[in-house]
Symmetry: C2
Subunit: 359 residues, 2 copies
């Protein structure tokens, strides 16, 4: 079968994601028409290579991408299916089941609708931050339903491919369960941990280490954006939260029993090993080599030059700051077998090392 | 008042922390005698500059540092107070209240005992990993009690200073509350989040992003070590866990109300701002510039050289890996005002940029 044609395409909603889809399709040679309820957004996106703001004959349109806020998705998709009578229509919302249920409740024929979720997009939401390569090598989940026409599914695949994304195909319910588990629940757990800090005296916070910072980092995200995302996935997230509450109740019920606590902690460690690692490889054991960064111009560059001269493959790096001193540390993660040789090489090159992570 | 003399000193327990104290004191010119129930540990520590394994007249000892596992601390401290009749005795356990209560229950005179907690020490627990600079610039909490003699308190201060640490003084109860809040609770929250992943299908885990990895990183720690630490701080940690359960119950009770969810998320964001930032400064807003790391030798070093040539102050860096491709990204955190100029400089130098963090 030939690759379905995407041209001409219409993008409705010229925020970061919509404008970036427009730019990616334009780069791929597709004729793109941009529409936004705030017309200046469409003009800004057009001026940055996202397409044109000229009107187009709706009957000729092959693809419509709906990139409006979560609460408006179903309404705009339904309108687009009616307006663009031959086009495949997709949306880029980060939750899929609610849109589909809402469309079904409207009695709309959904043969030409296929939902999708490009997993990219920072918290910068305007068209000024749009870019053609936003989706390059990112996951783009495509969620066909039982009444999707095959041609529509193939068209959305072609869209994701034109944007340079890596395609994952799953049903809307599976998708929403997956993001509830790997994204929405961790977001709430981070917030739950961070919220406790509002009651912690400053002198106690001075004992905070890197662990607390890691666990609470994503809690600093925009509350309004996450309220919309989680509200749209309410049932799946509630199920996850209830499972966590059950685990927490069980932990508290067995409190004081060291063996119950050890099992709980061992379950947690086991869970971390389920996360796909670098390049899809499973859990590899890493070691950290921590180097003091001298407070001198070019120190980091010289440090990296020496690390690379040591010939080791760096898996990850992290800068730690000492809160009381004008000094930082570079924590370099390497596979265990090479940690010793890196330590030796760093010491020989005159750097100051020390063990990582305090308890 | 003169600096109290620390020499000769005895270190009981030649694991990482004890052997490192021995090495730091030896470097500072103190005569150190090492004791370990496993005599080979003491010999290894001695061979690495941690002190001597020769016997010493107990009546001459000025300082005893007890660095044995949590469950044995009180017993060994009590023995040391009896054996070394003129010495100040401290321990280095990461929980303070239980040791103190246990010592009081034994009816021991505690005038010469002052607890302490050097906040350093990785999970590598043997004397082979010991080093004289383990405590350099780390926090060392000293926990005097109401019957501590002033000279004993000053002696433990001198110990921490000799090891190069930054001293924080607080009561044992405050210390234990503080570590329950900023260390033990986050550890359990990370485990709670990670444990859920054991029930998540692999195809869902493929959608995992950096946020999940951050929240669950410390859950990969050693369950046995953390069972001991948390068991010794059982009451303070239970209080924290119960507060979290209350918040979780409240969140679930208001589930479906977007305004309640938004307030919950806003509380979390507020909490992240309570954590002291770099160099003790409060919450500064950072932006991230994400650069593709080419798969070529020396790429990271050249990248850092170009970042430093751009003249910006790097606050933090993180390497992200794409699970499906042999490519990585360097996420560079800078203050918001300089993000744009860094982006421009990187683009001009030929690097490929893109926005960070997918939702």
């Amino acid at each position: 079968m030939n690759e379905p044609s995407l041209t001409p395409a219409v993008v409705i909603g010229a925020g970061l994601v919509g404008a970036s889809v427009g730019a990616a399709l334009t780069t791929a040679g597709v004729e793109v028409h941009l529409i936004d309820s705030v017309s200046s957004h469409a003009r800004v996106a057009a001026s940055r290579g996202g397409g044109s703001t000229e009107p187009i004959d709706p009957a000729t349109v092959r693809l419509v991408v709906v990139a409006v806020p979560p609460a408006k998705l179903a309404e705009v998709v339904a309108d687009a299916l009616a307006t663009y009578g031959k086009a495949t229509v997709t949306d880029v919302g980060s939750v899929k089941g609610t849109v589909l249920a809402d469309l079904r409740a409207r009695g709309v024929n959904l043969a030409r609708y296929v939902g999708s979720h490009p997993m990219a997009g920072s918290q910068r939401v305007g068209p000024l931050t749009a870019r053609a390569d936003l989706f390059a090598d990112r996951t783009w989940v495509i969620t066909p339903h039982d009444t999707s026409r095959a041609k529509a599914v193939l068209t959305v695949h072609a869209l994701a491919r034109a944007c340079g994304a890596r395609i994952v195909s799953m049903g809307a319910t599976h998708h929403d369960e997956a993001v509830a588990q790997v994204s929405h629940l961790p977001q709430l757990m981070s917030s739950l941990t961070a919220a406790r800090l509002n009651d912690v005296p400053d002198e106690h916070l001075n004992l905070a280490g890197q662990g607390l910072r890691d666990v609470t980092r994503i809690a600093a995200s925009d509350p309004r954006l996450w309220t919309q995302i989680i509200s749209a996935n309410s049932e799946a997230v509630r199920a996850e939260l209830e499972a966590v509450r059950d685990s927490l109740d069980e932990l508290l019920a067995g409190w004081g029993d060291p063996e119950a606590l050890r099992r709980f902690l061992a379950d947690g460690r086991q869970g971390t090993r389920a996360i796909p690692g670098k390049h899809g490889a499973g859990g590899v054991a890493y070691a950290e080599v921590v180097v003091t960064i001298p407070d001198a111009p070019g120190a980091l560059a010289r440090l990296f030059a020496d690390i690379e001269a040591a010939g080791v493959n760096v898996e990850d790096v992290r800068i730690e700051h000492d809160p009381a001193r004008e000094v930082g540390y570079l924590a370099v993660q390497v596979t265990k077998p090479v940690a010793k040789s890196l330590q030796a090489a760093m010491t020989e090159a005159g750097w100051t090392l020390r063990p990582a992570e305090s308890l």
